[in-house]
Subunit: 305 residues, 2 copies
Amino acid sequence: MSILMVGSVALDSVQTPHGSAHEALGGSAVYASLSARQFAPVELVGVVGQDFPKEHIRLLRRHGIGLDGLEIVNGGRTFRWGGKYLDNINQRETLFTELGVFENFRPRVPARAAQLPYVFLANIDPQLQLRVLDQCRKPRLVLLDTMNLWIDIRRAALEEALRRVDIILMNEEEALQFAAATSIERAAKALLGFGCKRAIIKKGEHGCLMFSKNGFFAAPALPLPEVVDPTGAGDTFAGGFIGCLAQSGSLSEAAMRQAVVVGTALASFCVEGFGVSQVARLKRQDLRRRIRQLCSAISCPPVRI
Amino acid sequence: MSILMVGSVALDSVQTPHGSAHEALGGSAVYASLSARQFAPVELVGVVGQDFPKEHIRLLRRHGIGLDGLEIVNGGRTFRWGGKYLDNINQRETLFTELGVFENFRPRVPARAAQLPYVFLANIDPQLQLRVLDQCRKPRLVLLDTMNLWIDIRRAALEEALRRVDIILMNEEEALQFAAATSIERAAKALLGFGCKRAIIKKGEHGCLMFSKNGFFAAPALPLPEVVDPTGAGDTFAGGFIGCLAQSGSLSEAAMRQAVVVGTALASFCVEGFGVSQVARLKRQDLRRRIRQLCSAISCPPVRI
C-alpha cells in the first residue's frame, strides 16, 4: 500500500566533527520518503523554490518517489537550514533558518495522493498538518512528528492534531516538555491520553520506546563506531517504520514492533554519512544484516525465577 | 552456588527532589548482597566502624548474608557518603565523603569465602580488588565494577584487574573516559581488548548494553513514573546479575542475557525508594511481574524484508 509524505524539502548545510556538507538535499519529507521507498510507493507533498537543483529532483524520481505534490514556486527560494554538531554529537546548534517558500507553504494534496491509506505528517506547523488531514480521504494509519517550536507556539493546533492521528512520534525532550513531566513513562501516558493509539519516544543513540495502552516495546539503537551526521535520523526512522507497515498491511502489535526495528536499522545507516547519501544507496543485503543484528541484540529466552 | 561480595559498607545521606535520608544503610557490597541474596547464598567482605548500627547488622543477617568477612574496627568510624540529586535525577553532586575505616581497608577473605565460585568486586580501589583476587582459590566467574576516580588515579592497577576478570561493568561515561573513545561501541571493544569476556555498559534510565566478541545484548530499563533515589541501582543490578548466574550455574549466552534482565528488574525496584528499602522487602511475585514486563518489552517476531 502507498504512503503520503508531507513535510519539508530543504537544502541543508551541516558541520560535524567529521566534516561538512553545503546545501545538500535534506528536509523531513525527503529523508522519510527515501527511507519508506525501500518498501512501498511514496507520494511526496512539499514545496521548493525555483532554485531547487534539478539533480535533486532527478534523485527523488530515480528512487520512484511521486512528485505530483511537490510545488515549485516560480521565483521562490528553497527552505535552507544550517546546523553545527558539537564534539558531543548529540548536541547541535542551529546556525540559520531561511524559510523561503516554506514560509507561505499551504500543502495541497493531489487528488490521487489524498486517497492513500498511509500518511506521515512530518515535522511542520501543526496547523498545516491539520490542513493535510482535512484533505485525506481514507487514511488507515496516520503518523505525526513535531518539534519543540510547535509545542511552544502552536499548542492548541498540536493538541487537536494529536486527537486525530494514530501514532505520535516525539523525541524525549519534546515529550517531557509537552507533558510537563519528569519521566518518559508519564509523558507517554499523557500523549496516549489524547486518544492516539501509540506514542513512540525517540532517544537518539539510546534507541526508542513505543508505548501503547497495553505496554511498551524498547528497541536499542545499533551501537556504531562513529556517527558522522545525525541529521535526518528521526525522519529516516519514521519513513522506515511507516514503509514497513505499508508493505505488510498489518497493524498488529507484532507488525508495529517489526516496523520499529526496521526504522531503527535504516536510521543507523542515515547517521553514518552526510545527508541522504547512505540511505539513497543502501543495498537490501546490508539492511537485512543490520535488522538481524538488532533482532539478535534484543533476543532473550524466557526468564523463570 | 555461592557468591563472594567485596565492596563498601556505608552510611549514606541522600537528598533527592522527593525527600532525604540520613545515614541510611548503603554501600556497594550491601546493595549487591541484598539483591543477589534473592537467588544464592552470599558472603560479604567489607569493613565498618564501631559506630555501625546493630540494626543494620541484624538486617543483613536476617537476609541470610554471611558476615564472617565483615571487619568491625574497634573505635573506628564507618564510611559515610553524602550526595544530592538535582531536579534532573540523572545528575548528582557529592556533598561529602568521609572514608573513616575504609581508608585503611585491607580486604581479608575468610578461608571458606575464598573458595566461592562467583565473585563480585564492587567499586573499590583496584589495588584492593587485585588483593582479593589473589586470595580467591577457585573463581568460576569474576565480575568487576569501578568508577571514574580509579580511572584517573589507579589506571595501571585497573588495567591489571581487567586482565584478570571475566566481566567488567562500567557506566557509559566511565567507559568512554577509560577508552578515550567517542562511541560506546569503540569503548566496549577497547575493554574486551583487555581479555575479559564481556563488558556491560550501564546507561541508567536507558538500560544497559552487554558486549561480547560475538555481538551485543540490549536491555532497556523499565520506564518508571517516578525515580525516588537512584543510589545503589548499579550495584543492585550487579547483584541481581551475578545472583541469577550463580543460581542457574550456566555461563551460556542465554544465561547471561537472562541475568541482565533479572538485574535490570531488581534495579527498577531499588530506585523507587530511598536506600535499600525497596529491595530489602521485595516480594518474589512483584519481581516476577517486572521480569515479565521487561521480557515482553524486548520481544519481537523475526523480521523478514
